[in-house]
């Protein structure tokens, strides 16, 4: 299977249930979003640091999660210093880092499958609205299964494009890829039907 971003471990964070972690994350982000004061953001920053240390995923892993924010944070920081001064700039950058960091912490300490199961069970109350959690789970598994198949397919298409000397044409890549993708989906649909997916 595809590897998730999960970092194996046995910390108190790893041992909490996915649903609990998601609920706590939701509350923390909600409170921070509404009361965006220096105290709250500082508190969030302390909590993020402490929880990261507690989780044992390592500061380096956490920094790697925050790294894509770097340029945006610099942009925001510079903009806010120019507009409202260093205090507001620190607040804005701090809020960005904490809201991304806390969410990343949940991802790093929870297995992908557990989060998927959690989402599927979250769909159960929606059954009345015609949502079928089992079908949602099947769709997600089928997507995971289809990714390597389509990757191979797209490599085939790229090779064919190279062989025809149309290497730089996005169209010569995308049209055959799309046609083969739809054909593949047709076959998968047929196989699902043969395996009784639609049968009562």
């Amino acid at each position: 299977m595809l590897l998730g971003l999960y970092v194996p471990g046995n910390s108190p964070l790893h041992r909490r249930r996915a649903g609990t972690k998601l609920a706590v994350l939701g509350v923390l982000l909600g409170v921070m979003g509404v009361f965006r004061t220096a105290e709250v953001v500082t508190g969030g920053f302390v909590a993020l640091t402490a929880l990261t240390l507690l989780s044992g995923v390592g500061l380096r892993t956490m920094l790697a999660q925050l790294r894509p924010l770097l340029w945006f944070a610099v942009f925001v920081g510079a903009f806010q210093i120019w507009l409202s001064g260093p205090r507001q700039a620190a607040l804005a950058v701090g809020f960005l880092l904490v809201s991304v960091g806390l969410a990343a912490l949940v991802t790093l300490t929870t297995r992908t499958q557990e989060l998927l199961d959690c989402m599927v069970s979250g769909l159960r109350p929606l059954r009345r609205l015609g949502v079928d959690p089992e079908r949602a789970a099947l769709t997600m598994s089928l997507t995971i299964r289809s990714i390597p198949v389509l990757l191979e397919l797209s490599q085939d298409v790229q090779q064919a494009r190279r062989a025809r000397g149309a290497e730089r044409s996005l169209r010569a890549f995308a049209v055959p890829l799309l046609i083969r993708t739809v054909r593949h989906a047709d076959r998968v649909g047929e196989a699902l039907a043969a395996r009784g997916v639609d049968d009562p």
């Binding site: 806390l102 089928l142 389509l150 049209v175 890829l177 649909g189």
Partner: protein, 200 residues
């Protein structure tokens, strides 16, 4: 046309197109330094999904893809994933993909017969750009603590030329499929079936 029962076929299309969006995040990864969201073919995947799958299935495909990202699979361009993708400054663009795919699908399904490819281009401009930015930019402004909308626009505008190219490519590809390979366009199936059922 009584082949596979429709429901499994839909499920297969949803899952396979979700996988296609993931696969398009893998190659062609061009990072625009200075900002936090890389240019990729992933938005092309969203546009193609909307244009081919229609208003109901396209957002389900994007939702499935986003669920796997949220669960921690590194399927966003540059190998990113996890919940922090949603809490971070570019989270709004992901939500925009979801709504945008539905809007593109709805518009393409309701193409007035006197319009041709221009309509597909319009659908993708509206759903693939206007809607996506309408979610992405205010979100970015909010997440970066009252970054003014115009500044958030300034931070996002670098992606616009790329997105316009993707609209053009999507239009050409969808047009090619509509004319040259109509059975690869499930949207067309749907329309044709509707007509049949009216006739019969």
């Amino acid at each position: 046309m009584r082949r596979t029962p429709l429901a499994t076929h839909d499920l297969a299309l949803v899952a396979v197109f979700a996988a296609l969006v993931a696969v398009l995040g893998a190659p062609g990864y061009i990072s625009v330094s200075g900002l936090s969201a890389p240019i990729t073919l992933q938005t092309l995947g969203v546009m193609l999904t909307g244009s081919v799958l229609g208003a109901r299935r396209a957002p389900l495909a994007v939702l499935t893809f986003l669920a796997l990202v949220a669960a921690g699979l590194p399927l966003l361009a540059g190998g990113r994933g996890g919940l922090s993708m949603f809490t971070g400054p570019t989270g709004g663009f992901l939500v925009g993909w979801l709504v945008g795919a539905a809007v593109i699908g709805w518009l393409v399904e309701h193409r007035p017969s006197r319009f041709g490819l221009g309509w597909v281009a319009l659908a993708n401009l509206v759903g693939g750009i206007a809607v996506v930015y309408a979610f992405g930019v205010p979100w970015m402004s909010w997440a970066a603590t009252d970054l003014s909308l115009s500044a958030a626009w300034a931070a996002s505008i670098v992606y616009l030329p790329g997105d316009l190219i993707k609209v053009a490519v999507t239009t050409v590809i969808a047009g090619g499929l509509l004319r040259g390979y109509p059975t690869a366009m499930p949207v067309q199936h749907r329309v044709r079936r509707d007509r049949d059922s009216v006739a019969g």
